[in-house]
Every structure is written in C-alpha cells, then in structure tokens.
C-alpha cells in the first residue's frame, strides 16, 4: 500500500496562488516542492509524482530538477535539522570542532540522523553567515557565533535562533543608512528616511532617461563581474514585442560574501524601491527575486515588506497612479551555488536543474521564458534609487574614477571584527579592511597575516605583502586578483594553505552542476589529489596533475564556474607552492610539527 500524498486544503490554495505568479506553470516546481516538504517533512516518490502532475511535467522531469538541489530531502529527516557551515570562513573560526562536537554528542560519525531520530545533522557550504562564524541553522533559523560550550543548548532547543550583531561602519552610511534603525524593515522607517519619496517622479520619467542616468552614474554590477549596469540594460532589443523580465539575483552564495543578506534582512524596502524603478527603466512588468533557499529569514522579511508595499500601492498595478505596473514575485532557490550564474538562475526559475545555458544568446536577448531578461544583483538594484534620488553625477563622483558609488565590503575569517562594512568604492585598501580600526580590526591572538582572499572564494589570494591595494575593480585586477563580490577572507599564519585549497575545492566540487565535463570531473579529481596531499599521501607528480587540471578546467568549462573553481588551487600553487612541496616531501601537513609554516620549514633544516 502506498500512501497518497497531497496538499492539505490550505496548502493547495497557497499552491494555486503561487502558480498564478508564473506564465508557465513549470516555474512553480521549486516552490511546490518546498511547500510539500514543509508539510510532509520530506518528498517521497509519490510526492514527486503529485507535484509533477500539478506543474505539468513528467515525474522524471520533476525528479531531474528536484534532485539537483541540496535542500530537498527524499527520505525522512530528523525533527530538528542542524546545518553547520563548514566552508572556509566558518572553518577558520572553529566550525570543524563545532561540527565534530555536534556529531559526537549525537553519536554520529558525520552527516546523518541521530539514532533517536530527533536530530538531523549536515555540513553545509557557505551560508552567508561569515560575519557570525561559526554559524549554523536550526530548522532554517540562524544561530551564529556558536561557542563550543553551546552545543548542548542547541541540541536541547534552548538556543534555536541568534542572528549575528552586524557591526557599524566608520564613515557615512548610504546603502546601510537604515539597517541599524529600530524596525528597520518597516515601510514607516524606510519612508521616514526619505524612502519612496521621489518614486512617483521616477516612474513618470521616461525609461530611456533612467537608463541613461544609470549609464552616466558608472554603476557597475555588484554580483562579481562588475559589468556596467546601464550598458547591460541597453542590450535589451528595442521594439521587441515580447514581455521583458527583471530577475534580481539574491542567491548570495559566494564563500565569504554576506552583504545582500544584510540588505534584504534589514532594509527590504530599499531593494523594493530599486526593483520598481529598475523595472520601469527596462519596461519590465514582472520581476522575480531569486532568493537563496537557505535565506529563511530574508524570505520572511521580504514577503512582509512586499505585502506592505503592495498595500501602499508601491508595488502592483498602476504604482502610485503613474500607470506603471510592476509586480514583484519572490522565488526561493533550494540549495545550489551555481544558480547565482545568471542563465542557471533563469533555468532554475523555469523549474529546471540550475545549469547554465550556452551564451550567446545572452539573457537580454533571450532569457526567462525566452524573453528579454535582465539579471541584476541585490546591491546593484539597491544603488538605483540612490542614483535617481541624488543624481547620476553624485553617484559617479562618489568613490573613485571608474569605480563609482557606495560599496559594501565583507570581511571574515581571522579578523577581530568580521562583518559587512560600507565605504565609497575604492576609498579603502585591503589593508584597511583587514586591519583598520573601524573595519576588520586586525588578526586575533597575536597571529600574523598569511593571505587574504579579497573578493570571495573565486578571486585569487593575495599574500600579506600584497594588501596595500585599493578595494576596487581596477586596482585588484592590477594586483592579480579581482574585487569579485567583495567578500574578503582573512587567513592567519596558523593556517595550512593546502588545507585552504582543499576546503574551497570541496565546495566547488559539491556545487559543480555537473553539466560540462571539465568542471564536473575535474573538480572531483582536484579534491581527491588535495585530500591525498593534505593527508601526507601525495606524490610529486600530483602537483603537476593539479596544475594541468587547473588549465584544463578553466580553459574549456562551459560557464565561469570553471574559471572560479580552479582559483583556490591555482593561486595557492602560485603563491604557496613550497607548502605543497613540504606535504609531499615530508608526507605530512606541517601543522603536525609546528605552529607556522615558516617554523616547520626552518625545522626541516632550511
């Protein structure tokens, strides 16, 4: 006897409302699966068939998509699910001990369900809680800065939610002007700070003028690539009868990056105003905010804010009586870093596996539902109201030449004050961010700086001697790295750089979508080699194989993920090759014998 799976009546009604958000019902697949999982605890075979029928695909298609995402569970799980981030920023601050402690207490050897069936533990990849490392989620709620002695509290349910305390920035807050206010997420607070005041004017401005202003402002995309936003908007084909879409990339997942989470959790209306103005500018009547699936709190905050905004006629049909229609739909991801790539995001939004498309065509020509589509990052969209309210000239002159506007910088790892800091773009150096009093505040425990990843795990590492570089696109590029998503990860001299490469490669291997050969097979092979080298079992030829793999993957992968995935290995091999050689030669990690690599290398008689 198989159990029939179906939505409870209230969930069926909710599903119908969700389905109505999309022109193609297949897009409702991920939300439908979330809804069923929330109801049933997991998605059974019958559940897959039920949802498949609801959204008009075959069970194989539904399973093809569903099984791609890590958040969907196909077998029963524990009552309390604990997801512990073990990516680099958290691992640098004790995540491995935390993870081992939790597993130990529950009698588990790794990811699994406790024998009593009440707890399910899993090691998660970067949860965008690097400022509150080590961090975990209990049934989706943040518990950050978890101390080892607090494991009992977490397991007993006494500690089930504790988001981090975001530190303040030293200068004048622009993007972060509201986030520290009381009730910062409410419409009233946003309005009191001048929000939405000129939205009606902006919506009555011809779209072309707004696009022109954004071009003049020199706003460059804040997601990582730094492409000029106005130019991207200008790629939309003129006079095309198809509907246009705006997709907001809120799938923040680049290790070391947690700025968009702050913007959404603490000031959702800034984003909403940005979306409404941007949608008008590109003549999109519908916007989908693709929100990272693990961002439960941000989802809740944004949903409430959208309800408030709709109630105030700031979103929806005929916004503020201007005749402009802008509907904003929240679409939750389900656990996939690759969905941050714009074409993978679109695929995911269409109810498919989050795998990238071949480019060209670019989304501006053929994106969501094969219609012209713009995908912009959260922070990028939040800059748009600033440009319109304060003027493109103001924005262009704020920051440095070619690097305009306010910028959020994340710093995590071995620093005294991890967090998200705001500064005019390029006005601070990487040294300021790491050591500055108002920023990272230096390395704890009297340790010395070994390396910094300046802009998220996909940017090449810089050594302690290379950090006097302005935090902007050009300067970091000249220094041999990149600004990326501006998520700096600080690494002190107690850290094995092979281990750093191994930890980040584990992330890329887990997140590789599997579509193209070099990335799918190459990341897994790199990890095997790094596991071997780090545990003292590597051969000298393994280093050559690693170099070859870096070249192969970045040379022939289908999407930029391939380039990113080799960065940790390629940049540590370039800058810390001696550490690799030590592992191979001495057949052990230097941490077994010394506190720093220099000590170990000296002790080995050099």
């Amino acid at each position: 006897m198989t159990k029939t799976v179906e939505y409870k009546p209230e969930n069926l009604a909710l599903f119908e409302r969700i389905r109505a958000r999309y022109p193609e019902k297949r897009s409702a697949l991920l939300p439908a699966l979330h809804l069923l999982q929330d109801q049933e605890g997991h998605i059974s075979r019958e559940g897959v068939e039920y949802v498949a029928a609801l959204v008009g695909v075959t069970p194989a298609q539904a399973h093809d998509a569903a099984s791609f995402y890590t958040m969907f569970r196909f077998t029963p799980s524990g009552r309390r699910r604990i997801e512990i981030c073990t990516n680099l920023s958290c691992a640098l601050r004790g995540a491995d001990d935390l993870y081992a402690g939790v597993c130990n207490k529950l009698g588990l050897e790794g990811d699994g369900i406790s024998s009593a069936g009440d707890h399910a533990v899993s090691s998660a990849e970067c949860l965008a809680a690097c400022g509150g490392a080590p961090a975990l989620q209990v049934n989706g709620a943040w518990v950050e800065n978890v101390q080892k002695g607090e494991i009992e509290d977490v397991l007993a349910g006494r500690l089930s939610r504790r988001p981090l305390k975001w530190p303040r920035s030293p200068g004048e807050p622009i993007l972060l002007r509201n986030v520290f206010k009381k009730d910062s997420t409410s419409l009233a607070t946003y309005r009191a700070g001048g929000g939405y005041a000129r939205l009606r004017d902006h919506l009555t401005t011809p779209p072309g003028e707004i696009v022109e202003a954004v071009k003049l402002s020199n706003l460059r995309g804040r997601g990582g690539a730094g492409f000029p936003t106005g130019v991207k908007w200008g790629f939309l084909p003129a006079g095309d009868p198809r509907p246009r879409y705006l997709c907001v990339n809120a799938d923040e997942g680049e290790p070391g990056t947690f700025k968009d989470r702050l913007l959404i959790e603490r000031d959702p209306h800034q984003l909403i105003e940005g979306i409404v103005a941007s949608s008008h500018a590109i003549r999109a009547r519908a916007c989908y905010v693709y929100l990272r699936g693990e961002f439960h709190e941000a989802c809740h905050v944004l949903e409430n804010a959208l309800d408030e905004a709709r109630g105030a006629n700031l979103v929806g049909p005929n916004v503020l009586g201007t005749g402009v229609d802008v509907e904003i739909h929240l679409h939750r991801g389900a656990g996939s870093y690759e969905c941050g790539e714009e074409t993978a995001l679109i695929e995911s939004l269409e109810g498919k596996r989050g795998q990238p498309r071949l480019k060209p065509p670019f989304p501006a020509a053929k994106g969501l539902y094969d219609c012209p589509t713009i995908v912009n990052n959260v922070e990028t969209i939040c800059c748009v109201p600033l440009i319109l309210d304060r003027g493109a000239g103001w924005f262009a002159s704020y920051g440095t030449e070619r690097n305009a506007g306010p910028k959020l910088y994340c710093v995590s790892g071995h620093v005294n004050r991890p967090g998200v800091y705001e500064a005019p773009m390029g006005s601070i150096t990487l040294r300021d961010l790491v050591f500055g009093e108002g920023y990272g505040g230096g390395i704890p425990g009297g340790r010395r700086l070994r390396a910094v990843i300046p802009g998220g795990s996909s940017t090449p590492m810089l050594t302690a001697g290379e950090i006097d570089v302005a935090m902007d696109f050009e300067s970091l590029s000249r220094a041999g790295s990149a600004l990326g998503s501006a998520g700096a990860i600080v690494i002190d001299d107690s850290t094995c750089m092979v281990w750093v490469a191994q930890r980040l490669t584990r992330f890329y291997r887990r997140e590789s979508c599997g579509k193209c050969t070099p990335c799918r097979e190459g990341t897994a092979w790199m990890l095997r080699l790094l596991d071997r080298i780090e545990s003292g079992k590597g051969a000298p030829s393994d280093l050559d194989t690693l170099s070859e793999l870096c070249e192969t993957i970045s040379g022939s992968a289908l999407c930029p993920f391939g380039d990113a995935a080799v960065i940790p290995v390629a940049s540590t091999l370039a800058r810390f090759r001696a550490e690799y050689e030590y592992h191979v030669r001495e057949k052990r990690c230097w941490k077994e014998v010394a506190n720093t690599y220099e000590d170990a290398a000296g002790g080995a008689g050099r």
Partner: protein, 521 residues
C-alpha cells in the same frame, strides 16, 4: 560567408556551426553530446577547436562561423585540450570494454584510440560507483558508462516528447535515470541506444548477440509503414542481427520506430517458405518452384480474361511492374487495395514517424496505376464465380475474415508469400517469395519520395523476389520481360510510368528522390 578550416576554404550560410561546416569538408571533429538532429547543448567540451584571434579553444558545436574565420581542428593546442577532456571523461568510467556491447561503435573507445592512449591516473577503487544493469524494458542502463551528454534526454524531449529519462543528482554524482526505474514505454526506445555515444543505454534485443565489427551493413528502407525510414540492415553470414536508422533529413532524420526495428525478425523466421506448395487431393504438398510456375502459367493461359490479379502495397515498384506486366499479358483484372490503405497513407499515427498505412509502397501502386479494376469489382466477380484464377501478390486478402466467402467460387487461387501461416491454406498454390531484405528495388513513400532498398542477404531455399516470379511466369507465357535484375525492371517501368520518367536506380541514390521536386526541375 567564407571561412578557412584546416587551410581549406568553405562558404556557408550564416548560422552554420563550425562542426557542420567542417563536416561538409569531410573533417570530423570529435564529439559526444552534439547530434545533428538534436539541439546543441555544448556540455561534453570535446569538440573544441582553435579559432585564430580567440584566446581559448571554442566548442565547434556552439560556435557559429563568421566571415573570414580561421579555424584549426587539429592543432597542438586542440589536441591537448581534447586529450585532457577525454581523460576527464574516463575518470569515472569502468573501462569494461571487453564485456560492453558498445565496443566497436563507442565514441569513447574510438576517441581514446585516436586522441587519448594515456595511462590511467585514477585507480579503479577511486571511481564513483553508479548503478549497473538497470532494466528499463527495451533498454538496459549502465550508469557507470554514461558520459552525461544528455542526448537521450534531449531525444525524449525534442523528438518523442515523452520525458521518461532524466538526470538525478548533480556534479560527478549525476546519473541518468528513469523515474522509479519504470520501463521506457514509447515506440522509439531503440533510438535511445542509438543516440547514446557509449555503452550506457543498450538495446535489450541486441545485447550480447553479436560483436558489431563482424556485421556488414546494407542500406535499405524500412517496409513497416508509408513513411519509409532509411535504415541499415546489419547482417552476418546470411543472418540479420539488427536494423538501425540511416540518417535522412528529408524522411526520418536519424530515427526509426521500434515496430520497424523489430521487422528483421520476420525475414529469418523459422516459418519461411523454402519451396512451392500445391494443395490437391492426392496431397503432393511441396513441389519444385519450376513445376509450380508451369502449373500456374497454364492456369493463367486457360483462364483467358477471367483471371484476376491483386497486387500488394508491400511489394517494390519492380515487383509491381512485373506483376502488372503479367496481368497485361493475359488481359486480366487488376487492383491492389485491401481495405483502402491510400486513405491512411499520410496519416501520422503518433506525431513522430509511424503512419497509419503500414505498407511501404501504397504510393508506388498508385504511381504505377495499379488501381485499375477496383477491389470491389474483383471481389464481386469472385463471388459471382466469374474468376477462374486469382493471383495474389501477398497474403493480405487471405487474412481477412471475409476471404472464405470471396474465394469460395474461385477454382484456383495462387499466392506469393514469405512465411507460412494458416491463412495460406485458403490458396491452392503457394509460391515462396523473397523477403524485403533479400530483394532490391524501390518504394515510393507517402510524400512521393522514391527510395531504394538493397539486397542484404540471399533468399532462402527456392524463394525468389516477386518480380522474378512474375518474370518467370511471363517467360512461360512467351511474353518475356527484358530484365535480368530489378534495376532492369525499374528501367522498363520508367519508360511507361510518368512519375519515374528518366530515372535510374543510380540517380535515385542512397537517400532517394522527391518526385515532386524532379517534376519542378
């Protein structure tokens, strides 16, 4: 626009990919995921080429030719990239070629021999284990051999629309799977084994039957319906082991249906008729074909004009023409229909390839003008006792429930047939006919495309092509047909048939000719 590929210039239409342009020059760029009749996915990265002015190698499948482009498909950079990709594809491959049925027609094996030849740097115990010998009905899945090229998924999405196969999981743990291991239930499953470039999807029917390098391939046309899918007959030592589609963009692209694919079994059936059989009171049973033809020719002569001929839309144009000539020699009645196949000739039954008219040559019957007397008129004459001898080119009429009533008053019924079956008992004389795989000639499909079939194997025993049976009869009637081969017959037919005017079997070629297009040009 013009481009240079490996030093050779070619002019192509805008929107032509490098891989297609190269193919036109006879340059084969190695690939796994690209398929000429499926959408471009660009996932395998094997088809990289070097384009002058581009820093990285580019995939030839997804890069369109631009004017003045200079492409190198075999430079040191390309060879290195190809070799690296191939090594990656083999990282998790079980390397079980000795027991794999794909061996001999495996892209992985072929390309390893051509571009790889490296020693394994991954040991077997490091490989990711996946599911093996998964029963999917007509298909057997081995997920470990899969290179995740998605051809099968795209086939089901774009051709059959069935979407029964999909991926499961992601990264290097991705596998191909059918939901809940449910068997593939559509009529095009065999194509999944064809599109699979490796041994991941194999045909249950063909599995472990024969190593492919022993097989000889003869181009032909499927006789299963009026679509006329182009095929290869794969055979060895007079035995047919499989049929597989032969690409023809104007007819079947790269596909054929499973019903057609199974038709090879009839040609080698144990029930094949090896000699003639006469039903008589002294029950002589089997008689030599020569004797049977003597008997039949005298019956035809004696019957005068009270003789009727019913042709078969299963027969080739050559068979039909010879049959028609025989009829003309004795001025008999002639038609070909059994329950009006021409009404269903163009009806696409499943939206893919299969047509409601399960005869390959109904159109040929019409072109040759075989619909002459009317089946109803012939049947009425039979029932009225006005037909003294009836010659059937195939057993179709005998299988109909009403055959007994129609044939009750016909004193002599002869039938040409390939296989013995109970219905043949209704005939007085049975002549052993060659099967389509043993015959050569032409069919005209529903869309007026004339296409060639070729003889793959010899007819067994005394059986012979129908046109030969007719021509042997004509010789006995002193009206010999000026033909020693089927192609001679076609030449005769082309003289008296407007549609075939000026055609020869050589000009028809291996991919056939559209009769409407010829008429216009």
């Amino acid at each position: 626009m013009k481009c240079m590929i490996d030093g050779r210039e070619i002019e192509v239409e805008p929107g032509t990919s490098i891989i297609l342009a190269a193919q036109r020059l006879g340059i084969r760029i190695p690939h796994f995921c690209w398929h000429p009749d499926l959408s471009v996915d660009g996932n395998c990265r094997m088809c990289v080429v070097e384009i002058e002015g581009s820093s990285k190698p580019q995939t030839a499948c997804s890069t369109m030719v631009t004017d003045g482009m200079v492409v190198h498909t075999d430079s040191p950079q390309v060879r290195k990239a190809r070799r690296a990709t191939l090594e990656l594809l083999l990282v998790n491959h079980p390397i079980d070629c000795p027991v794999c049925d794909q061996a001999g027609e495996c892209y992985l094996q072929d390309q390893y021999m051509e571009h790889g030849l490296h020693d394994a740097r991954i040991s077997l115990d490091e490989k990711v284990r996946k599911r093996k010998v998964v029963d999917l009905g007509p298909i057997v899945l081995d997920a470990e051999r899969c290179v995740l090229c998605s051809r099968c998924i795209r086939f089901e999405r774009e051709v059959t629309g069935t979407n029964q196969l999909g991926f499961v999981g992601r990264g290097d743990h991705t596998e191909i799977a059918a939901f809940d291991n449910r068997p593939i239930s559509h009529n095009y499953a065999g194509n999944l084994a064809d599109v699979c470039p490796v041994g991941a999807l194999l045909s249950r029917d063909f599995r472990f039957r024969m190593r492919v390098w022993f097989l000889e391939s003869t181009p032909s046309v499927c006789p299963g319906c009026s679509t006329g899918c182009n095929i290869f007959i794969d055979h060895r030592d007079g035995e047919i082991h499989r049929l597989r589609p032969r690409r023809n963009v104007s007819v079947n692209r790269s596909w054929m249906c499973d019903l057609g694919r199974a038709l090879y079994k009839g040609a080698g059936a144990p029930s094949r008729l090896l000699g003639a059989r006469l039903r008589s009171e002294d029950d002589r049973g089997m008689i030599p074909v020569g004797e049977a033809l003597d008997l039949l020719s005298s019956r035809l002569r004696d019957a005068g004009e009270d003789v009727a001929f019913l042709a078969s839309p299963q027969a080739t144009n050559e068979d039909l023409f010879a049959f028609q000539s025989l009829c003309d020699a004795v001025s008999g009645m002639l038609d070909f229909r059994v329950d009006d196949p021409q009404d269903r000739m163009a009806v696409l039954e499943d939206g893919v390839l299969l047509r409601a008219d399960r005869n390959p040559n109904t159109r040929g019957c019409l072109e040759l003008g075989l619909g002459r007397t009317g089946v109803d008129a012939i049947m009425s004459a039979c029932r009225a006792g006005r037909v003294k001898a009836l010659l059937l080119q195939g057993p179709e009429l005998l299988r109909t429930p009403a055959a007994g009533i129609f044939l009750e008053k016909v004193p002599f019924v002869a039938v040409m047939a390939e296989n013995d079956e109970p219905a043949l008992a209704r005939a007085h004389l049975v002549l052993p006919a060659a099967a389509w795989t043993e015959n050569e000639g032409t069919f005209v499909n529903f869309a007026r495309r004339v296409q060639r079939i070729e003889r793959a194997i010899e007819p067994p025993g005394e059986s012979r092509p129908r046109w030969r049976l007719a021509s042997d009869l004509l010789a006995r009637l002193s009206r010999p047909l000026d033909a020693t081969t089927a192609w001679d017959v076609f030449r005769l037919a082309s003289r008296s048939t407007a549609a075939f005017s000026g055609l020869e079997h050589v000009s028809i070629g291996e991919s056939g000719l559209d009769l409407d297009a010829i008429k216009e040009s």
